[in-house]
């Protein structure tokens, strides 16, 4: 049975959250080494600008700051005190047994779960079937299962915030602690206004994370450490804003790009139309043609769909590495052939490209499990909604309304995004997803109804539901509610099972073959 929530602790966390609404004091910030890289003349102005995104937080000894598997939207700078970083390792002897419910996250491995969808363990991030995506801004010397201490002046959490990877370690206060929480917009502002700060973050990424990031990419997974080291030294870290062209079709290809964070569109020109071929996300790469062919122009255009962070390798540098490691070149050829096939397929089946473009325009591309209703067969009986209500104590988690694409309706049911932005900013950690599963869940026992997640969800798929319980001020308590894919229901989502006409389907827009097959 789930232990009842400690209300006092919850209230304390909520109050702490409220304190975060207050920007940090100017006097405190100006004296910190964090801002030393900003030219003195501009320093005060920059700090004033970013101050609203920076908050001073205090933690008692033992309090958890970040939890493994959650998504972060902030970097943390240690002002005073010591932070303990614990890298998890499943089944380690000194670790307490995983509770059935941990902050709402059912820790059942996806493959052990009744009704588990095949391949579910590979469906988020670039986990490669491991329990956690090991990419972090924590000291590289911390091995899985190990611990490390960070002292005043250290910064952590920035990679998770910038690249939208799940946090790969649990961070606790090892002593009474003062931290500066720098929210993502502030982090980006600082990067833009301080070359030193950007360099500082880039250096840390290069030193602590890049090697592991490279090893997590299929292209480099089997190569020797020396190759990784060479790439790491020569890589340039670049960022692009939404809409910016990273590479243009027909222009000389002079670099290789590896995606650190964000989404990019890959498109080709067909007549006067711009044909979307595929998209790239964290862990994907592009530009292999420039490495294996001489004077080959870019065969497609690469465009940032959101803020993207890339690792760039100049062609000549990479070629030197390739010369010594033919295995990498072999993989590049394979990748290029696959990409050409995709391009050919897009040209032959423009409908696939159209769907891809639609998915990118509407945000469905983020969805791991999007509910679609075929309006040509749906009798509007609402059995899907009733089924959902039956599965959730009478309270449906979606309504049969939403955007329409051709004959398909996309109801307001959670898409179970690859990078769930709703998870960021949850003050009590009530929103969780066990790494390797699809279901993003809200634990009603720890949700405090702050509505941060509902405001954050770009698709409006989280709603605040009034409860019978009342607050001391007499108002009804409101809790966040969203589709959880009927987690734990052996038959899978009730909406799909209860549709008498087979009109309701769940699909991932990452599986374009299935999308084309379904939507045609």
């Amino acid at each position: 049975m789930t232990a009842p929530p400690d209300l006092a602790q919850l209230r304390e966390r909520y109050e702490q959250r409220l304190r975060l609404m207050v920007p940090a004091e100017m006097e405190l910030l100006t004296g910190l080494s964090l801002f030393a890289g900003i030219p003195e003349k501009a320093r005060e102005k920059v700090i004033e600008k970013v101050r609203k995104y920076i908050h001073l937080c205090t933690y008692s000894r033992g309090e958890v700051i970040l939890r493994e598997g959650d998504y972060g939207d902030s970097a943390y700078y240690v002002v005073a005190g010591t932070v303990e970083v614990v890298l998890g390792r499943p089944g380690e002897p000194d670790r307490p047994p995983a509770p059935r419910v941990r902050g709402g996250a059912h820790r059942v491995r996806p493959t052990d779960r009744a009704g588990a969808r095949p391949g579910a363990e590979r469906m988020i991030g670039r986990g490669g079937g491991t329990d956690t995506v090991v990419l972090s801004a924590f000291p590289a010397e911390v091995a899985p299962g190990g611990r490390a201490l960070l002292e005043a002046g250290e910064i952590f959490g920035e990679i998770s915030a910038l690249s939208r990877y799940p946090i790969s370690a649990t961070v606790r206060a090892a002593s009474p602690l003062k931290l500066l929480q720098i929210r993502l917009p502030g982090l980006r502002m600082l990067q833009a206004s301080s070359k030193e700060f950007k360099k500082f973050l880039d250096t840390r990424y290069r030193e602590r994370t890049l090697a592991r990031h490279l090893k997590s990419v299929s292209l480099f997974e089997d190569v020797a450490a020396a190759v990784i080291e060479s790439v790491r030294e020569k890589a340039e870290l670049v960022a692009f804003e939404p809409g910016q062209i990273v590479a243009e079709e027909g222009k000389p290809a002079d670099a290789f790009y590896l995606v650190r964070g964000g989404y990019l569109k890959v498109s080709v020109t067909a007549g006067t139309a711009d044909l979307a071929v595929t998209y790239l996300r964290t862990g994907d790469f592009a530009g292999e043609a420039s490495l294996v062919l001489d004077d080959e122009p870019w065969p497609f255009t690469l465009q940032a769909l959101e803020h993207v962070e890339l690792v760039k390798l100049a062609r000549d540098d990479f070629r030197k590495i390739l010369a010594a490691h033919p295995k990498v070149e072999e993989k590049l050829w394979q990748s290029m052939v696959a990409r050409l096939k995709l391009r050919g397929a897009a040209a032959r089946h423009p409908v696939s490209s159209e769907y891809l473009q639609m998915a990118m325009d509407t945000g469905l591309i983020h969805g791991e499990s999007v509910l679609l209703i075929d309006l040509a067969t749906c009798t509007r009986c609402d059995d899907c909604v009733r089924g959902c209500a039956d599965a959730h104590a009478g309270e449906p988690r979606f309504i049969r309304e939403g955007q329409r694409y051709r004959n398909w309706l996309v109801p307001t049911a959670c898409y179970q995004c690859t990078d769930p932005v709703c998870m960021m900013d949850c003050p009590t950690g009530a929103i969780t997803r066990a790494v390797g599963t699809l279901e993003v869940q809200i634990n009603p026992a720890t949700c405090i109804g702050c509505s941060n997640c509902a405001k954050r969800c770009p698709w409006g798929n989280i709603v605040m539901v009034e409860q019978e319980e009342r607050r001391p001020d007499g108002k009804h308590v409101e809790l966040a509610s969203k589709c959880d894919l009927c987690f734990g229901r052996p038959e899978g989502p009730a909406c799909v099972q209860m549709c008498p006409h087979g009109s309701a389907q769940r699909i991932s827009f990452k599986d374009m073959e299935r999308v084309v097959e379904t939507l045609r």
Partner: protein
Amino acid sequence: MTVAPVLRPKVPRNLRLTAAAALVILVVYAGGAWLWPWSPKRGLGLAFGFAAALAFVVEMLYPARRPRARPFGTARAWLQAHVYLGVLAFLAVLVHAGLSWPRGAMGFWLLALSAWTTTSGLVGVWLQKSIPRAMADGLQVEALYERIPQLAAELVGEADALVADASDVLERFYREEVRDRIATLQPSWAYVLDVRAGRERALEPFRRMVTFVSAEEKGKVEDLASLLTEKLELEAQLRLQGVLRRWLWLHVPPAGLLIGLVVVHVFAWVWY
């Protein structure tokens, strides 16, 4: 040969299985009737009567498909079973009666209600296949049935706001020819035959009006036409979704009555 989507079975295998089962029933009947004098009170005739009664009981379980029955397959499988078993049950009733009109009031009502229930069920299948397709192909607006009156009311508000500072000509045109059409929901039965029924005629005055207003107000006339189109689509949705909901009145009460009569019929057979 291409079969229209409305006539295409959702699960062709089930249609084939049902056709095969129907053939078996007819062959058994032909064989039985050839060998022995056919009677609904004994032998194969009685067996078919029991089979039909059992099938009716299973048919009656369809509304129980959720939520407790969820481990027993998807709602789609339940509906498929309901439809095809219903057809076979009716065939079993016909064979039970020896493919002849029964004598007596009870026999008459049992057969008549079986025929009505099966036919209304098949009409329902046709409606459930044809109406959604017509709505999806012919209508741009999609709305929840319960919200349609509210959405239509919102359209009036939008239209009123649109002509708030319009010229006298446009304002009079709106007041006299348009407002009532937008304000009142008149879901015509013609929508069942054509989801865009009456649209061209309803939009004709707007095409006329465009020639009488200034260039700046042409946009407003087009917006008003769009609002009326949206309202017409809401009407079509209201009518068609209403039909999809209400055809069950033709099916469920007679089916309930049929089950009641079957119970009486079986009881009478056992008793007497």
